[in-house]
Amino acid sequence: MKKVHPIIPGRRCLVKRILQAKMHFLAKGLIQVVHSHEDLKRDVSDWPEGFTLLLDVLGDAPRIALQKYTDGLYRTDPSALIHYDLRISLKNIAIAQKVLSGRMGFCRAMIENRLVAEGPSVYFTSLLRCLIKAQHILFRLPRDERLMIGKRNSVLGRLKVYQAMLFVKSSRKEDASVDTQVLRVFE
């Protein structure tokens, strides 16, 4: 048998670490934006109690999980998660870098088929609306995407959200490992 040597591409550990940090930033921002915007709060209140969503990058890349409680969204530990209700996966690291730093909006990413969604489409639409809004507030999106969203966003408003993100409690560790699907069955 002929001997051949496989080529193992790099692992990109540093890039993944940076992505993890960016994901946490987005998650915190999303929680805060949902907390402070009435229309988004209304959207999220339609989700069932304990609704879990996962945002990740396909492959061996970072991910975050969020869970819905009566008083809003909270972060949970994705590794302890047994079940998720909705999953949004960005197809590759390069796109994740762009989306999570606000150089590409979720709206464009969806149009260009850069993300995959798994779960009920009703909740996907409202989650996407929340993500687009959060991204619009947290970052200065490219001009065409800002035009697509339509609403103007002031720097002062952005700074207010950043300030609130520093002090807001974003995780409820005591319930992190509970399987929400099981709970819902008992309900």
């Binding site: 591409p9 790099g10 990109r12 492959g59 590759n92």
Partner: protein, 370 residues
């Protein structure tokens, strides 16, 4: 005109545009592949393409099972299979041009045949049904025009459109035009291949002047690469191309650069069949020359005008192209025409043409282009 019956097959998914290559790991995984075999050729551009590819695959659990460098004319079928098995590969990535796509297509055919034989021996329940080998084509520069073997996926990334010399850009553009025109006038034409061919011609018209003005213009290069892919897809389904056949035979029999021969032969070939295809030529004037010229030309003159536009192309870019304008300048002798005719008659691609038409029409075209 819509044919009474036609078949159009295109199972190829296309990923095109900004960071298209980065989606390759996702597409591979979706097809259950984790160890692709990479087939490419030895060249500076291929190295650059290889770097972009490995960067796109990094950070994922995909490993390139083995790397095979296509050495033109020396590829042994058994050797290919041996390398594929030794690397424990499950898919094929073809990165490069025509020779690479040919080799990858041949390997895929071999593997499918081998699996079918295995299925026959073991019975259906032992081998997974419908198991196929994903073939992914990543064309470099403008080689989308040469895509063969209906790959499952074509990845067209602007990073792969290389910084070629002006002469090469021009030759590729004419090759794209020839593919598009041949698909548009071939007997196997249909509304789907027509739309591909038409778009390809329009893209060449829009992007060639910019690419010839500044070869570093990325948008123009990418536009030409798109045009090449479209005309390749059109040609795949209506694949009877006498002018390509003639140019390639000239290249093989008389050692003339076949792309230069194509630039010379194309207008003469079209002129030879103008009575037959005048309406189609007239339709192609719009994407080739633009709406102003199309509107200014009377309908019965449009076919002739289209040929004229093609004829003036080498002069339009004369200072940057600098290629020969007739076959004798390429080094063809009158006595070589006999040799070319003999080679054409032996070719399997001329089976649909009568011996008389080959002798008459092709000799006329060669004489006119001499």
């Amino acid at each position: 005109m819509i044919p009474k019956y036609y078949e159009y097959s295109n199972s190829t998914k296309t990923l095109a545009g900004h960071m298209a290559l980065d989606n390759l790991p996702y597409e591979l995984k979706k097809r259950g592949a984790k160890r692709p075999m990479l087939i490419t050729h030895k060249s500076g551009e291929a190295v650059r393409g290889y770097r972009a590819l490995t960067k796109a695959l990094s950070g994922t659990d995909i490993i390139i099972g083995c790397l095979y460098l296509a050495d033109e004319g020396k590829a042994q079928e058994n050797h290919l299979l041996e390398v594929f098995d030794a690397g424990n590969c499950d898919s094929i990535i073809a990165l490069g041009g025509l020779s690479v796509f040919e080799l990858a297509g041949r390997l895929k055919a071999l593997l499918i045949r081998e699996r079918d034989e295995e299925r026959l021996l073991l019975g259906n329940e032992h081998v997974r049904r419908g198991q196929s080998i994903p073939l992914i084509a990543v064309p470099m520069a403008y080689s989308g025009v040469d895509i063969l073997g209906e790959p499952e996926l074509v990845v067209l990334d602007p990073r792969m459109t290389m910084d070629l010399p002006y002469k090469e850009i021009f030759l590729w553009a004419v090759d794209t035009l020839a593919h598009g025109i041949e698909a548009y006038i071939s007997p196997g034409k249909n509304p789907l291949s027509d739309s591909f061919a038409y778009s390809a011609l329009r893209l060449v018209k829009e992007n060639l002047p910019r690419a010839m003005q500044c070869r570093r213009d990325k948008k123009a290069r990418y536009g030409l690469a798109q045009a090449a892919l479209l005309s390749g897809l059109a040609y795949m389904n209506a694949r009877i191309g006498p002018v390509h056949l003639l140019a390639r035979t000239l290249g093989e029999a008389c050692h003339i650069p076949w792309k230069e021969a194509l630039v010379i032969l194309l207008p003469h070939y079209l002129e030879n069949y103008r009575v037959q295809y005048d309406a189609e030529y007239g339709e192609l004037l719009l994407p080739l020359a633009g709406p102003e010229i199309y509107a200014d030309t009377p309908s019965h003159e449009r076919g002739r005008k289209m040929i004229q536009v093609l004829r003036t192309l080498p002069d339009q870019y004369g200072d940057k192209y600098g290629g020969p304008r007739c076959l004798s300048a390429c080094g063809l002798a009158r006595s070589d025409i006999e040799k070319v005719m003999a080679a054409l008659l032996k070719s399997t691609e001329t089976l649909h043409l009568s011996e008389e038409s080959i002798k008459e029409d092709f000799v006329n075209i060669l004489n006119a282009a001499f």
